[in-house]
């Protein structure tokens, strides 16, 4: 879901940078030192996740993991995702430098939104938590696809055509991520529920 360098127009890029900077500032304030190790692990997983290719669909899709990053970090998802995207751009030429702001918004905003939507539900019973985590993983990828389509729309393309293509080709990812998020959260609930604060 990373948008490549040189695709989007300048106004979209600048608004992306501005919004991402604001989100990162809020995220850094809310990132207390106790959460640093959790942030590091999740950042590393997000970094690696984009290399996992899901070979289904017309275009190329990959795992994102922003659902679980948001669920466990809240607003701190912004700086964590930003750092991971910077490393991906530098090391794998994945995404790009000017488009860093937009890509951060695309990945981190759904993370925060699903945190607010589903965050409280994971403290309830096991089944509720599993269903909520599935929904979290599913919806964060869905929202990311919509944001990709919006960024492309504000640059050039016909919104509904691109939006449907991106969303449909990412449906397998939505399902897989929902399952992964549900599995991780139920595992954590059993083993270390303190992490789910």
């Amino acid at each position: 879901m990373h948008i490549s360098e040189g695709v989007l127009s300048a106004p979209v890029l600048f608004s992306g940078i501005g919004l991402a900077a604001a989100g990162t500032a809020i995220g850094l304030k809310k990132l207390d030192y106790d959460k640093i190790s959790r942030a590091g692990v999740l950042g590393a997983s997000f970094f690696v996740a984009s290399l996992i290719h899901v070979p289904i669909g017309p275009s190329s899709i990959h795992l994102i993991l922003n659902g679980i990053v948001g669920l466990l970090l809240g607003w701190a998802a912004f700086p964590v995702i930003l750092v991971a995207l910077i490393l991906q751009a530098m090391i794998f030429q994945f995404g790009g430098v000017t488009i860093l702001g937009v890509n951060t918004i695309i990945m981190a905003t759904p993370a925060v939104i699903t945190y607010y939507l589903f965050g409280r539900l994971i403290h309830k019973g096991r089944i509720t938590a599993a269903i909520a985590s599935f929904g979290c993983g599913f919806i964060s990828v869905l929202l990311s696809s919509i944001l990709v389509a919006l960024s492309l729309y504000f640059t050039d393309d016909d919104f509904f055509e691109v939006a449907s293509l991106v969303i449909v080709s990412n449906i397998p990812v939505m399902i897989i991520e929902g399952i992964i998020t549900a599995l991780c959260i139920s595992f954590l609930k059993k083993v270390q529920p303190s992490m789910l604060s």
Partner: protein, 201 residues
């Protein structure tokens, strides 16, 4: 914490192919045509991708679409450095710069059309006239024949080099990236430690 780490490191199992999320286009010259091939980083061909060819000043020279095999070829519009841009939809973009040196350097117009006819005419004329074993062929014609044969033989080689250049993400790169993240964690933890120590006094 440790078990959490274990779960996420299990994801490493799936990174067997280690391909990034890019779209790649390579282009090479054979005779007076330019051939291009477009793929997603995982190896899947780009079908119906939009191709645009620009000169070094950014002027659009021609455009077209890739076929079901990710290929698109066109007659060389201009023997100069060309920028070939692929747009595979949904924000996937790739570029290949074809340098001037890759084109056969003779006259300005397409020499192949003219010289091919010349070679055939020349050979048949000579055969009829001389009626001997040897066939006269000028130095220029010989050059063109060799050039054409070389292009054909080298095209698959160029493709192989381009593919390996496209850079599959190496395992070392992943370890490096994770190292950076752990380093940042360490720095943050250091400052936390300093803060705690300071407040104790």
């Amino acid at each position: 914490m440790k078990r959490f780490l274990l779960i996420f490191s299990a994801l490493f199992i799936f990174t067997g192919n280690l391909y990034g999320h890019k779209v790649i286009i390579f282009a090479w010259v054979e005779g007076d045509k330019v051939y291009t091939e477009s793929k997603f980083a995982g190896g899947k061909k780009v079908k119906n991708g939009k191709i645009e060819v620009f000169n070094s000043n950014g002027k659009l020279l021609l455009k077209g679409f890739t076929n079901n095999n990710g290929e698109f070829s066109f007659d060389t519009p201009l023997k100069a450095t060309l920028d070939i841009v692929l747009n595979a939809g949904a924000g996937h973009r790739g570029k290949w710069t074809l340098n001037k040196e890759e084109f056969f350097e003779t006259e300005e117009e397409h020499p192949a059309y003219k010289s091919e006819n010349n070679i055939e005419k020349g050979n048949s004329l000579n055969r009829n006239n001389l009626n001997s074993e040897t066939i006269e062929i000028t130095k220029e014609e010989l050059e063109k024949v060799v050039e054409k044969a070389l292009d054909k033989k080298l095209a698959p080689l160029k493709k192989m080099v381009a593919e390996s250049m496209a850079g599959r993400s190496k395992f070392n790169d992943i370890i490096g990236g994770i190292g950076y993240i752990l380093g940042l964690m360490g720095i943050a933890a250091y400052f936390k430690f300093k803060g705690e120590k300071g407040s104790e006094k």
